[in-house]
Each structure stands twice: as C-alpha cells, then as structure tokens.
C-alpha cells in the first residue's frame, strides 16, 4: 500500500523494544518495521521471544523500554481494547456459551453497530470463511478446523487493518493445516490486511510469508524473505532451523573468490565467502537438494566433489534421499527426484558427492 506521496506506508514500528520479567529478558532490544499489507511471520522455537513480541504489539505485555507505533500512532501505553487490531489464538478462544453468530457479532456489539447491520456483516463474513450454515451452532459442536474458521471470521468481521495470529494452526492435523494456510493466504490477499503471524513451523513460515523474522533467545536472528532465509542464512542457527542441511566443520585455507576451505580428513572444497579471513573456522552448510551423486568421469568445472561411501537410500515418494559418508565419517544426505529407474541400482558406481560452488554456505557463527 502506498500513500499519496508514493511512499510505502508503515503499519507497525517497534523502536528499541525490550521486555524483561524480573531478571529474565524475554525480548532483547528489537527494531522492526512492518509495511501496510505485509505478511510478516515471527518464526522460532518456543521461548525465543516471538509470543512476547506479539503480546507487546497486542497490548497484553507492556514493554520494559522502547516504543511501539501502529498506523502512525504511539500505542505503547494504549490498552489492548483501544488498539483496534484483530487476533486469532491457537486455542481459538471462542466463547463457549455463545453461538457462532453471537461469537462473531461480539466485536460488532462492542462497537454499537445496529442489529440489522450486524446480521448482514456476520453472514457476509461466514460466507468469506466458507461456513455459511453454522451460525446457530455452539463452538463445541464444530470441528477444530471449523472453530478456527469461526475465530478468523470473528477477527475479520470488524475490518481491523492489523491482524495478529498466534500459532493459529498448531492444533490442527497436517492436511487441514495446509488447507488453512492457503485459506489464510487467500484472505490476506483479498482483504489487504497487515498480518503478524507466529509459528514454530518453518515450512508454514516459508509457505505463507512475505518476510520472516527468525527469532532465537529473545533476539531477532535474521529478518528477510523466505528466499533469503533459505538460501542466505546468516548463522548456523538459521541454517539449521530453516530447511534441512548438513553442517561440516570447515576452516578457510586460502582467501580468494572462491576461497579454498579445508574440511579435515574429508578433503578440500571451494566456497564463496565474502570478507573471509585466513584460518577462520566455522561450518560449511550444504542443502540436500543441491548435492548430487556422480561418477568419477562426471566431475565438472564450477563444482566441488568429495569422495564418499554409500550407506543407504530412502524413497519418500517424489524424492529419494541417499545417505552417504565422508572420509571422516560425517553423514551427508543427498536428495534427488525419483525416477522410474530401479532404486537399488541408482547409486552404483557413483562414489563422489558434488555441488555447485555457489551452493555451499560458510558460516562462522
């Protein structure tokens, strides 16, 4: 969304926000700016501070220091009921003593909207979340997925410009979760709302987000697009948390473009490391899908190749995972697409693992 000046509007800004409980720091000094209409995901393991951050935006936790701005207004001291945002909870938080209709009508009644208008808006929003016939049921008569749709409807019915979702799909099974991801994405696109979405599921974060803020130990580890986080992790934590990877102990042997990196007993390889120092230690991160098993005569320029021992293969439908072992005993996973060719014979004679030089990532922290 842009204003008349043509500049991008900012919906949320966190200015040096910290949150401490006694001597425990739940959120270290954090800066964050969220564009209007953006889908931002807070991703991280439990205890990483993502829920604290969300609660600070919602107004349910007052920051120990720093300021929070929503839609150009300083809301640091504003109670949740005056912030005018919407929130969806993992537990749905539907009022058990009210029907679906009354649940969705609740925020409208708070806003003193006429009965007629309420009826219209509730039925519209039920249509939007594809639950038109359940208005008079009680929440406990609905399935988990339906309850979450109702809670999303209740959140959207009063058109908040900013919606917070706290692990909304955590209680659903995998299939339903994937379906609801698409549904939430669709609503986000149609209604052009700004979304802050909390999850610990990296796949969910990659599927849905415009931007991901990866959190660890009460700090932002990395902020960027899903593509950035996957292909350009800034730390071993980020590389490990997002996607699958193998990490090998590595040391810079020769600085250059690319650098030569020593992998101990397993050999040497080339990696692009901007700003590298000689003898710098760290990890070489390799994604399984960038690796190939090749034969001796397939070695090509621009590729690294290390000799390996074949151990086993796992077929997971569309992909096959070969487990191989480097000279020093480290296991590597090589992922390839399956072909009708017989599994048992595929690895025969392929005693080298290879990857393009630019696919290796060297991380010193």
């Amino acid at each position: 969304m842009t204003d008349s000046m043509g500049t991008v509007q900012e919906m949320v800004r966190l200015d040096a926000v910290t949150k401490r409980y006694g001597s425990f720091t739940a959120l270290h000094e954090t800066e964050l700016s969220i564009r209007a209409g953006e889908f931002l995901t807070l991703l991280g393991p439990s205890g990483s501070g993502k829920t604290t951050l969300l609660n600070a935006v919602a107004g349910m936790a007052t920051p120990t220091s720093g300021r929070i701005w929503i839609d150009g207004r300083d809301v640091t001291a504003t109670p949740p009921e005056k912030r005018g945002l919407g929130m969806v909870f993992q537990s749905y938080a539907l009022m058990p003593h009210m029907t679906v209709f009354d649940n969705i009508a609740y925020p409208l009644k708070v806003r003193k909207i006429s009965k007629q208008e309420i009826r219209k808006r509730v039925s519209d929003v039920l249509e939007l979340v594809r639950l038109p016939d359940l208005a008079h049921r009680k929440p406990k008569e609905l399935s988990g997925g339906q309850q979450q749709r109702v809670s999303i409807a209740r959140c959207l019915v009063y058109n908040p410009r900013l919606v917070l979702m706290d692990e909304p799909l955590g209680a659903l099974d995998k299939k339903l979760r994937e379906q609801m991801q698409l549904e939430i994405k669709r609503l986000h696109n149609e209604l052009k709302i700004t979304m802050i979405y909390v999850t610990h599921d990296q796949e969910e974060a990659l599927n849905m987000s415009d931007r991901i803020m990866l959190m660890n130990g009460g700090k932002a580890e990395q902020i960027g697009s899903p593509h950035d986080l996957y292909f350009r992790p800034v730390s071993q934590f980020a590389a490990d948390f997002i996607g699958q990877s193998t990490m090998l102990d590595a040391k810079i042997l020769e600085v250059g473009d690319p650098c030569i990196v020593d992998l101990g007993a397993s050999g040497q390889c080339k990696v692009k490391v901007p700003g590298a120092n000689k003898d710098q230690g760290g990890k070489l991160v390799l994604r399984p899908e960038t690796l190939r098993l090749i034969t001796n005569d397939q070695i090509a320029d621009g590729f690294n190749a290390l000799s390996v021992r074949y151990k086993d293969s796992l077929v997971t439908g569309s992909t096959i995972k070969h487990i191989v072992e480097l000279e020093n005993g480290t296991e590597l996973i090589v992922q390839e697409l399956t072909t009708p060719e017989e599994t048992a014979k595929r690895h025969e004679g392929r005693l080298l693992v290879a990857w393009p030089v630019e696919a290796g990532i060297f991380l010193d922290r």
Binding site: A58, G59, M60, P79, P80, E81, K82, R83, G84, L85, G86, M87, F89, S91, A93, M95, P96, H97, Y106, P107, V110, R111, P139, K140, R154, C155, Y158
Partner: protein
C-alpha cells in the same frame, strides 16, 4: 476375576473402616430416626406428618428457615463473589496466603464465634460504641435477623468462595484476552464473558451454602430473636421439651429431605460445570 475387578476389591478394603464407621454412626441412627417418624406404639402411622402439615408453628418455622437460608445464600454470594474474583487474579503463591486468611473462621468453633459476635454487635458492643462516637446509632444488630445473617454468612462465605474460585481459575485466560482485543472494556468482559461462564460455580456454591444454612442451630439460637426459630430448633424443642420423638423425627426427616433435594440439584450442576472444562481442553 478381571484385573479391574480385583483392583476395585483392593480399593474397597481400604474404604472398609470408614464405611463401617459411617454405617454404625450414621446410617443406623438415621434409619431409626426415619423409622421413629413413621411409627408409634401401635405400629406404622403417618400421624406425625399429618400433624406437621396442619401445624401453624411448623409452617411458620419452615418459612423462617427458608428465608434465613436464602438470605444467608444471597449475602454469601455478594460477599463471596468479589473475594473469589480477586483471588483468581492473584499469583498462585498469594492465593495460598489469602486462602489461609479466608479459612481462619473455621479454626474457631461457631459457639465461641457467636459469643464473640454478641460482644461486637450488642447494644453496648464494639461496633455500636464506635458508631456512637460518629454520632450514629445505637443500632439493634443482635437477637434479630441481622445478627443471624452476620453470624451465618461469616461461617458460610468460604463455601461460596471455593466453587466460584475453582471455576474462575479454570476459565481459559485467552477468552478475556480475546474479548479485550476485540475492543471490550473490563466491565463488559466481566458481564458478557467471565460472569456467565462462572454461573455453574455460582450455582454450586449457592446450593452448598443453602444446604448448610438449612441446618444451622447454634447461630440463630444465640444471635437471633424469638422470630428467628429454625427447623433445627424445632427438632430440639419437640425432642427435649415436649418429649414427642415422633414429631421431632418427622421434622428432622423433612429437613433432611429438603437438603437431599438441594444436594441432588448440586450433583446436576456439578455435571453441568464440566462442560466448560471439556471445551477448554
């Protein structure tokens, strides 16, 4: 024998002493009271019940008993709900401290407490002396309904607090959070979410207090006036002054039946209360 059955027998063995005790000390005397109420020298007779139904005294005392029990229930609710609400907002550690404070009334016998209330509420008692200093009173707070209500609710409030507190604590905190995010102020959240959801707790507390209040004896005797005779006093009157054991047994049976009815309703509400916990899981 199936393992579960064997396990049940094992548990039954542990319950045996208590069961025997209750049988000898409760069931047999109660049975004899019931029997006494429906028999006289000639055999089975419902004469006592017939007499009771026609007795103006009984009808008046029954009305007083229900009035006092209901009044005490209301007072206990209005005093107990705010306490429970306050406690539910405290940390677990503070809750324990406050609960001990609430339970202090139980550490003194109600006889001693009733005498204490005489000292406090009497014509020249502490409260009236204090009000006198302010140029108010003296008010008659003893040997009338006020005295009975003060004495009884002092004992009964905790019985109201506990079921409500249990309910408030089991309410998922996200419900109030969600309501606040949707724009509801504190009072609206209480009126539309917290209170309606706490009704099962209120009803079970009220029934519990009502059942206990029905059987009060010492407090109305010591703190009430001549108008505040309850059914338990009537049982005492027939047994010790008129020596009409049939009448006193019959009244006791009616009192017990009323309490049992309330207890039955209580068990229904307890069942209903679990709806909430099922949903929150």
């Amino acid at each position: 024998m199936r393992p579960e059955t064997r396990e049940q027998y094992r548990i039954a063995v542990f319950a045996l002493p208590a069961t025997l005790f209750m049988l000898v000390m409760m069931a047999i005397p109660l049975g004899s009271v019931v029997w006494q109420s429906i028999s006289d020298d000639t055999g089975l007779s419902l004469a006592a019940y017939a007499k009771i139904v026609q007795s103006n005294l009984f009808i008046r005392v029954t009305r007083t008993t229900l009035e006092i029990a209901l009044g005490a229930t209301l007072v206990a609710f209005f005093l107990g709900y705010p306490i429970a609400y306050f406690l539910a907002k405290q940390s677990t550690k503070r809750q324990t401290i406050w609960l001990i404070v609430i339970l202090i009334p139980f550490w003194t016998s109600s006889l001693v407490k009733s005498f204490a209330f005489v000292v406090m509420l009497g014509h020249a008692g502490i409260l009236n002396t204090f009000l006198g200093e302010l140029g108010l009173g003296p008010y008659k707070m003893l040997f009338n309904r006020i005295g009975v209500m003060v004495g009884m609710s002092h004992f009964l409030v905790p019985f109201m607090v506990f079921p409500i507190l249990t309910n408030l604590r089991s309410q998922p905190p996200e419900l109030a959070k969600a309501a606040a995010i949707m724009g509801a102020g504190k009072f609206r959240i209480f009126r539309t979410v917290t209170f309606p959801l706490s009704l099962p707790g209120v009803v079970s507390g009220a029934l519990l207090v009502f059942i206990l209040a029905l059987g009060f004896f010492i407090v109305p005797k010591l703190l009430g006036g001549r108008q505040d005779v309850m059914l338990s006093s009537l049982v005492d009157f027939y047994a010790r002054e008129v020596f009409d054991f049939q009448m006193s047994s019959a009244i006791a049976v009616i009192l017990m039946a009323t309490a049992l009815l309330a207890a039955f309703l209580l068990s229904k509400v307890r069942g209903g209360a679990s709806i909430l916990s099922k949903e929150s899981s």
